[in-house]
Symmetry: C2
Subunit: 348 residues, 2 copies
């Protein structure tokens, strides 16, 4: 059963159109290229593994950055394309294409472990349909102690938002009221989160980090169930109609401040990951003023029937019934009093 | 079998996302809205039929333009959405939603035939996955003599073009040669035409009309096999790598010159129809100078297994072996001599 699922996954990746979309994704390409090519000091004469090499382009970057050996591991038939690309770029002496799953890979008996693992493993809202498990496996089995992971960190963000494309847009379509269409659309789509480009002006908050991982340390078990509960004050007034979820990835660099960050947030240039939006039922949507508190719990639960997929669950909580952070910027009297008290203490 | 195919077609239309895309297609919306709303003299107190009414928005336009009765005929379950939209716009006394195929529709015994048929029936490259047969059926059975068709005319255009997204783009992807990927992509996609947005600068010619139809006269039999053979001189030099196909629709208006035209061409604002591109095999692609002749035959053949679909066939012809138009702007000596001779005759 699981074997069949995997087979389907790898077949899908043979649809070259998916790879065309990724190769045309400028923020993705630029982040990986700059992270690798501006870090030649890390790559020079090093051994690298590219997990899920796809068309092989990241392996070529690594070779050009000075790596002495790159294992380009690709499970799907795309390994053949990767091999042709490596040949075309005259890098067959450096890049070794391995057609197989990284879980089945065995280092040659005399070979050293790798200094760096490079992978573009991220799925929608980071984890959905991604391949982080394979990257973790590769790290645990093939990376030298203190080796580098590219990317090295990932963060998932969440923000309450308006979703006019599912609500207000249908009040007036060329002077025709189409709210009943909007309602049907919401009903048809309510069963799963949507992957859309969210205009930044629809966010009611700039976003809070709901999950952070260090790629050198994260374990697969930690990815089974991710949950986050928070109270946040609205920063930009508007209709609360959903939650928007996105992620950033950070790459190792000379200094933490100058490190390359690939952001897939609403304010960043668009990527093929877009953003993930969970639309709320009509009955709980409300117009919120600045500093109104929103309390919510959001959970990402790995599916048992398909480990590559996640279910998203969002729960709105009555903001009077849970503890707020101290200090809290929301407009509840209790929070204003605590904040004022703390400010007075600071001054004294 | 055919019944099953139809069932699948109508189910697909229940996916509201398709309708969302159409309702957000500005050129489509504006063309229909203006064609109807700027023609109140044609609509006032008239009986209209909207064939394939979908969400009902065109029926609402007709009612607002003064129609006394609109039959909104919709075969899919979307008829329920249309009914809600009509209710929402307080037009139930004018617009009658009919949930059924137009082929099964029977006018009430005492009812008059309709003055106008409105329909957005166009598919990719006009005919593919469209529903023109149903519009023709409606016209033949329900339109008064000298009634109006909205749209009233349609034209299919073809132009030779470059297709850098399938060829030259892969020479250099972030300084990596990926021609082998481009070649695989072409091989994977060679079996069918692609629906893409063609940048106008990739056209080698502004386009020639390969098929024109008057909606008041066209018969279904004429749609079985459409073929066009032509010699055209290249207007803009470049690499000939494919043929681009698109269509225009014209609506009735006060005067022919002022009529609303919905264009889906590369130079017009983008629509959800985009353009259709047939990519040529590498072996016949060539760099062409201005005035080089291209001779070709293009055929649209209705599929027997699915009457809603068409196969496209393109044949390149040796331009020395067929007769050129007289005069012809191409750079062959024969054509230059004929053209000069004709010009001299004009002067004398």
């Amino acid at each position: 059963m699981e074997e069949l699922k995997n087979a389907a996954y790898f077949t899908e990746y043979e649809d070259l159109e998916v790879h065309e979309i990724m190769l045309r994704d400028r923020p993705r390409q630029e982040a990986y290229k700059n992270a690798i090519m501006n870090n030649t000091s890390l790559f020079r004469d090093k051994v690298v593994m590219d997990v899920g090499a796809g068309t092989g382009i990241l392996s070529v970057f690594c070779a050009k950055a000075g790596a002495k050996l790159v294992y380009a591991v690709e499970a799907s038939n795309l390994a053949k394309v990767a091999l042709s690309v490596i040949e075309e770029n005259n890098l067959t002496s450096i890049v070794k294409v391995i057609h197989g799953k990284v879980e089945d890979f065995v280092l040659p008996p005399t070979a050293e472990k790798v200094d760096i693992i490079v992978s573009e493993w991220m799925g929608f809202y980071l984890l959905h349909e991604g391949m982080l498990d394979s990257v973790i496996f590769a790290r645990d089995n093939f990376l030298k102690p203190h080796g580098h992971m590219f990317p090295s960190e990932a963060t998932i963000y969440v923000a309450p938002c308006s979703v006019p494309s599912r609500f207000d847009d249908w009040n007036n379509v060329d002077d025709v009221r189409m709210n009943s269409f909007g309602e049907m659309l919401r009903r048809q789509k309510s069963s799963k989160p949507e992957i859309i480009n969210m205009p930044p002006q629809n966010l009611l908050h700039n976003g809070v980090a709901m999950f952070w991982m260090n790629l050198n340390e994260i374990r697969s078990e930690e990815l089974e169930y991710i949950t986050f509960q928070e109270v946040i004050p609205i920063q930009h007034q508007g209709k609360h109609q959903g939650f928007c979820i996105w992620f950033d990835c950070r790459f190792p660099g000379e200094s933490y401040e100058n490190a390359i960050v690939l952001s897939t947030g609403p304010a960043a240039p668009g990527t093929h990951w877009k953003q993930c939006v969970v639309v709320l039922p009509d009955t709980v949507c409300e117009e919120l003023e600045e500093n109104s508190p929103i309390a919510f719990k959001i959970s990402m639960i790995r599916r048992n029937d398909d480990k590559r997929k996640y279910n998203l669950e969002v729960e709105l909580i009555d903001s009077n019934e849970i503890e707020h952070p101290v200090p809290c910027d929301c407009h509840l009297t209790k929070c204003i009093l605590v904040k004022t008290h703390l400010q007075n203490m600071d001054i004294s």
